[in-house]
C-alpha cells in the first residue's frame, strides 16, 4: 500500500548508516556481556486473570485462570483451582482482565524512516533487505507495543513489483539482533496499484511479464544449486547475492507477501505465484472486489489472506457496501487475517482494524484469531507466537476486555517474558 516517492536514485551505502551499524553492533556486544546483561534475564511472571483466550488448536478459552511465564516462554496454564502459583513469581492479579496472545502484524512498513523503504528505483529490486533499515526502539515500535502488538513483518515499500526482502521481528530489543526472528522473513511483491505509476505509467501486461521474468531467473538459479546439491552435477554454480535470497522462497521456507487488490490482480497472484511458481503466498490488502477470487484462493489450500487496511468496498455495479473480511469469510476463506499497513494505519490500531472488519459483518472471535494465531500462521511463526501454549514464546497482552471491543485498553504487554509496556507506569493513549 505504502508508496512514498522518495529519492529517485538511491545509493545503497550511506556513511551515516555504516556508523549506525558500527554503533549498534558495538552496543550489541556490550549488552551481551555478562555484567550488563541483567536486563535480559527473563522475569518469572504469574498472571491471575478472568479470561485466557489461548488461540490454541482446540480454541480453548479458560475462565479464572493462571498463566505462568518463565525463561521467556509460557511455562504452565491452568485454572485458579488447579494451578498453584509457586514462589518466586511476580503475581499480576487482574481478576476482571483478559489475557490474549501478543498481536501479530503481517504487514508493517514502519520499519525505520519512510525514505528507507526504497521505492521507485527499478520495477524489480531483489537484493534489498529491510533488515538494513530497521531502527530498534523507535517511536513506532513503542506505540505498537502499547496496542498489544508484539510481532511484525517489516516490509519494504510497494512502489515497485518486487521491492526486496522483509524482516520478521519482535517489537522489543535494543538491537536489531535481539529483535530478529527471521531475516529475510519474506519476499515482497506488489502486483498492481502503486507500481503502475512507474515511468509514465506501465500496464499490468508489462509488469506481470517483468515480474515473471525476474522470478523465473531466480528459480533457474535455485534449480541450478539444487541440482548441484543433489549431486546431479559436479559443476558448482557461481554464488550470486542478487538471487540467493530467493532460494528460501522456492524452498517455501519463507513467504511471498504480495500487495494485491482487485479481482484481476489477486487472480494473477494466485495463478502466477502460487499455482505456477509454487510460492507460499500471502495476499496482502486483498481489498476492493478481490473477495470474488475466494474459490481460486481456496483451491490452492495454503494461501493466507491478510485483509486491510481498507475494510469496506463500495461495489459500483451492484450499488452495495461490502465488508471485505466478511465477504472473504462468506466465500469460505478461513486463513483470514487483518493488517494495518502501518504507518498507513498506526500499528497500535491493529485490533481496531479487526473491530472495523466486524462492524462490516465479520465475527469477533475469528477476527481476534485473525490478528493472533492466523497472523502467526501467515508468517510461518505459529510454533512460536500467536497463541498461549506451553513452551511457546511468552508474548502476551493483558486487556481490560475483548481486544476487538474498541472500549478495551491494553494494560500490559509482554514480549519474550518481559514486560515491555505497562499502562500503570505510563499510559500511551
Amino acid at each position: 500500500m505504502i508508496g512514498i516517492r522518495g529519492r529517485q536514485i538511491h545509493s545503497f551505502h550511506h556513511g551515516n548508516r555504516q556508523a549506525f551499524w558500527l554503533i549498534t553492533s558495538l552496543l550489541g556486544l556490550l549488552l551481551t556481556m555478562p555484567p550488563l546483561a541483567r536486563a535480559d534475564v527473563p522475569e518469572k511472571l504469574a498472571f491471575r486473570v478472568g479470561k485466557v483466550v489461548t488461540m490454541d488448536d482446540e480454541d480453548r478459552v479458560l475462565n479464572n485462570a493462571i498463566v505462568l511465564v518463565c525463561g521467556g516462554k509460557i511455562e504452565k496454564i491452568g485454572t485458579i483451582k488447579d494451578l498453584p502459583i509457586p514462589d518466586g513469581y511476580t503475581l499480576i492479579d487482574r481478576p476482571d482482565h483478559w489475557l490474549v496472545p501478543g498481536l501479530v502484524e503481517a504487514h508493517d512498513h514502519a520499519v525505520g524512516s519512510s525514505s528507507d523503504l526504497h521505492d521507485y528505483v527499478y520495477l524489480t529490486n531483489p537484493g534489498l533487505r529491510t533488515t538494513s533499515a530497521l531502527v530498534p526502539e523507535s517511536e513506532n515500535l513503542k506505540r505498537a507495543r502499547a496496542g498489544g502488538v508484539t510481532t511484525a513483518l517489516m516490509l519494504p515499500g510497494s512502489g515497485n513489483n518486487l521491492s526486496g526482502f522483509g524482516t520478521l521481528t519482535k517489537l522489543a530489543g535494543d538491537t536489531v539482533d535481539k529483535m530478529l526472528i527471521r531475516a529475510p522473513g519474506c519476499v515482497k511483491i506488489a502486483q498492481a496499484g502503486n507500481p503502475e505509476r512507474y515511468w509514465y505509467g506501465v500496464s499490468r501486461c508489462f509488469m506481470y511479464y517483468n515480474l515473471r521474468q525476474t522470478l523465473q531467473k531466480a528459480l533457474a538459479y535455485h534449480q541450478k544449486w539444487e541440482r548441484y546439491e543433489a549431486g546431479e552435477t559436479a559443476e558448482k554454480p557461481e554464488f550470486d547475492l542478487f538471487w540467493d535470497d530467493f532460494r528460501a522462497v522456492f524452498r517455501r521456507d519463507i513467504i511471498a507477501l504480495v500487495h494485491t487488490q482487485w479481482y484481476q490482480v489477486v487472480m494473477s497472484s494466485v495463478d502466477m505465484l502460487a499455482k505456477k511458481l509454487h510460492m507460499r503466498i500471502v495476499l496482502g490488502h486483498a481489498t476492493f472486489e478481490a473477495y470474488k477470487t475466494a474459490p481460486l484462493v481456496i483451491e490452492q489450500q495454503d494461501i493466507y489472506t491478510c485483509n486491510g487496511p481498507r475494510q469496506i468496498h463500495f461495489d459500483q455495479h451492484q450499488r452495495k457496501i461490502m465488508g471485505n473480511a466478511a465477504r472473504w469469510w462468506q466465500g469460505g476463506v478461513r486463513k483470514l487475517g487483518i493488517n494495518t499497513d502501518a504507518p498507513v494505519v498506526p500499528q497500535e490500531e491493529l485490533p481496531f482494524q479487526a473491530a472495523m472488519a466486524c462492524h462490516y459483518g465479520w465475527h469477533p472471535y475469528p477476527a481476534l484469531r485473525g490478528i493472533t494465531r492466523i497472523a502467526a500462521e501467515t508468517l510461518m511463526l505459529e510454533d512460536r507466537v500467536g497463541s498461549i501454549v506451553v513452551g511457546r514464546d511468552a508474548d502476551l497482552g493483558l486487556w481490560t476486555g475483548d481486544p476487538i471491543d474498541p472500549r478495551s485498553a491494553c494494560e500490559l504487554t509482554v514480549i519474550n517474558g518481559q514486560i515491555v509496556y505497562d499502562a500503570a507506569k505510563k499510559r500511551e493513549f
Binding site: 500496464s203 499490468r204 511479464y209 479481482y263 487472480m267 451492484q318
Partner: protein, 491 residues
C-alpha cells in the same frame, strides 16, 4: 447480483466440467426453433443437438437421445455465437505505452471480472479476440477467449493467436519513425539469429571437442538449423514464430497511406499470407492495394466515412463495407462496446450492411463465419453445423431485427446467459411486463366498457341519470374552483 451468481455458478460448473466428473448436462437438445446456420439454408423449424460441447446433429428431424436435456425453443431463432474479431477491451488496460513489445501477452491483462465480458454474453458475442497495441509498433500476443471463466486460462479458446503490428504512427511519433522502428526490430532479429547460429555451431563442435573450423559466414549457415526453440529469448521467440509461420500478423492501418507500407512489411518478412488488416475509417481508400494483396480485413466500428470537399464544402459519405464488399474482400465487422449507440451491437452493424445493399448472407457471415476464418477457427466456430463447438445464441427474433433480444447463450454447450435471470436488464424487462400488463388491463377495461355499453343500450333510462349526475358533479367542482380563485385575488 443474481446474474453474477449464476455466471459464477455457470463458470464454476465449467471448470468442474474440465477437471472432474461433475459434468454439466452433456447432451443438450434445442428443439423446435428456426435455425439460421449461416453456413447453409435456414431450417424453419428444427433441432440442434449438442453433445459434450460439440454439435452432433442439426436438422428438421433429429433423433434426440433419451438422456438429453431438451429445451423448447419454438418461436425462437437459433444463431451461431457472434465473434468480436478485434477487441482491446476486457483488459485492465491495454498496453499502448511501450512501443516494441513482441514479448507481451494479453494473458497478463485479461480481467475475467470485467463487465465487458458480461455485456458480450448479453449481446450474443460468444468469442472475443482480445488484442492490444493499435498505438504501438509491435503490440504483443493476442488471445481468443470465451466470455466465461474465472481466469484467462479457463476463458481461453486459443492462446497466442497473433502478433499485433501497427503501421500507423504511435501518438507522438510519425510515419518515418514508425517504419524505422520496424526496420530496427527486424534487423536486430536477423543480427541476433546470426550470432545465435554461430554460437550454436560452436557449441555443437565443442561437444565433439573440436575448434571452430570455418569462417563466420559458413558457421552461421551451418548453425542456423541447429537453433532450438529454447535457445530463443522471449523478445525474439515470437518474432521468429511470426516470420516462420506459427503466428499470424494483425496489422493496424489507420489511414489509407499506411496500407502500402503494411503490405510491403508483411511481404518483406514473409507473413503476408498470414496477415489480417485492421482498418481505420479512412483506410478503405486503399481498396485497390488491399484487393491486390487479397487478404481479409477487419472494418472499423464506425462504418461511415465522412469528408468535406475542401473547395465546395460539400459533405460526402461513404459506407465502407459497400466498397470492401464490391472489391470482393473477406471482411469482418467490429462492434464498438464503448459506445452507447447501436454500434455496440454486432447484429446492428450487420443490419446496416443490409440496408446498404449487401446481401443478407454476406452480412451474417461478417459477424460469424468470416471472423472465425480470420482467426483460424472455422472448424470450430462461426456457424451451426455438425462438428463445430456448441456456441449458440437463442434469439427472440431475426438477428437483424432491432427488436430482437438474446434470450439464452450457450458456450461450449454450457448455458452461460439467460435473459430471465439478467438483473441488469430487470428494470427494462419489468417495464416490458408492466406495459404488457397495462395493455391487458386496457383491453379488459375496453371489453368491460363495451359490455357495459351493451348493457346500457339495454336499459337507456339508467344511463341518462348517470350522465346527468356526472355532469352536474363536474359543473359543481368547476364553479367551486372559480370561487376559490376569486377569493385569492381579493386577498
Amino acid at each position: 447480483m443474481i446474474l453474477r451468481c449464476t455466471l459464477w455458478i455457470v463458470v464454476l460448473f465449467t471448470t468442474l466440467a474440465v477437471d472432474s466428473h461433475a459434468a454439466p448436462p452433456s447432451k443438450l437438445a434445442l428443439q423446435g426453433g428456426r435455425i439460421i446456420p449461416v453456413c447453409g439454408p435456414e431450417i424453419p423449424k428444427g433441432t440442434v443437438l449438442i453433445e459434450d460441447g460439440t454439435i452432433t446433429a442439426i436438422g428438421e428431424t433429429v433423433k434426440i437421445p433419451y438422456d438429453a436435456t431438451v429445451i423448447d425453443v419454438s418461436e425462437k431463432v437459433l444463431f451461431p455465437g457472434m465473434i468480436s474479431p478485434h477487441a482491446s477491451q476486457g483488459l485492465d488496460r491495454p498496453n499502448e505505452n511501450l512501443p516494441v513489445t513482441p514479448y507481451l501477452d494479453v494473458y497478463d491483462a485479461i480481467d475475467p471480472s470485467s463487465l465487458f465480458f458480461e455485456d458480450a454474453l448479453r449481446d450474443g458475442v460468444l468469442a472475443v479476440h482480445v488484442i492490444q497495441g493499435n498505438n504501438c509498433v509491435l503490440g504483443g500476443l493476442s488471445r481468443l477467449v470465451r466470455p466465461i471463466g474465472r481466469t484467462p486460462d479457463e476463458m481461453t479458446i486459443r492462446p497466442s493467436l497473433a502478433l499485433k503490428l501497427s503501421a500507423s504512427p504511435k501518438s507522438g511519433s510519425d510515419r518515418m519513425q514508425q517504419m524505422a522502428a520496424f526496420r530496427e526490430t527486424f534487423l536486430e532479429l536477423a543480427f541476433y539469429l546470426e550470432n545465435l547460429a554461430e554460437k550454436r555451431y560452436e557449441e555443437e563442435l565443442a561437444k565433439e571437442k573440436k575448434e571452430i573450423d570455418v569462417g563466420p559466414e559458413e558457421a552461421r549457415k551451418r548453425g542456423a538449423p541447429l537453433i532450438r526453440k529454447e535457445d530463443l529469448d522471449d523478445r525474439h521467440r515470437n518474432l521468429v514464430q511470426l516470420t516462420e509461420g506459427q503466428l499470424d500478423a494483425w496489422i493496424y492501418c489507420d489511414a489509407a497511406t499506411d496500407v502500402g507500407p503494411a503490405i510491403n512489411l508483411a511481404k518483406e518478412h514473409g507473413f503476408l499470407d498470414r496477415s489480417i488488416f485492421v482498418l481505420g475509417t479512412e483506410a478503405y481508400r486503399a481498396v485497390q492495394e488491399l484487393k491486390k494483396a487479397d487478404r481479409p480485413v477487419v472494418l472499423p466500428p464506425d462504418l461511415v466515412h465522412r469528408e468535406r470537399d475542401p473547395i465546395t464544402g460539400e459533405l460526402s459519405e461513404t459506407f465502407i463495407p459497400e466498397v470492401i464488399h464490391e472489391a470482393g474482400l473477406l471482411f469482418a465487422l467490429q462492434p464498438n462496446p464503448d459506445s452507447s449507440l447501436a454500434e455496440r451491437y454486432l447484429n446492428y452493424q450487420a443490419a446496416r450492411c443490409v440496408r446498404h445493399g449487401i446481401p443478407r448472407q454476406k452480412a451474417l457471415e461478417s459477424i460469424t463465419l468470416n471472423p472465425a476464418r480470420m482467426l483460424g477457427m472455422e472448424d470450430r466456430l462461426g456457424s451451426l453445423e455438425v462438428g463445430k463447438a456448441g456456441y449458440v445464441v437463442v434469439l427472440s427474433g431475426d438477428p437483424l431485427d432491432f427488436n430482437t433480444w438474446v434470450e439464452k447463450a450457450y458456450v461450449d454447450g454450457i448455458l452461460a446467459y439467460d435473459r430471465t435471470k439478467d438483473v441488469r436488464l430487470k428494470e427494462l424487462l419489468d417495464l416490458e411486463e408492466k406495459s404488457a400488463e397495462k395493455e391487458k388491463q386496457k383491453e379488459q377495461e375496453n371489453v368491460e366498457s363495451a359490455t357495459q355499453e351493451e348493457k346500457q343500450k339495454e336499459s337507456p333510462a339508467e344511463t341518462k341519470t348517470d350522465e346527468k349526475t356526472g355532469k352536474e358533479g363536474e359543473q359543481d367542482s368547476e364553479e367551486g374552483q372559480k370561487n376559490e380563485e376569486e377569493e385569492r385575488d381579493d386577498k
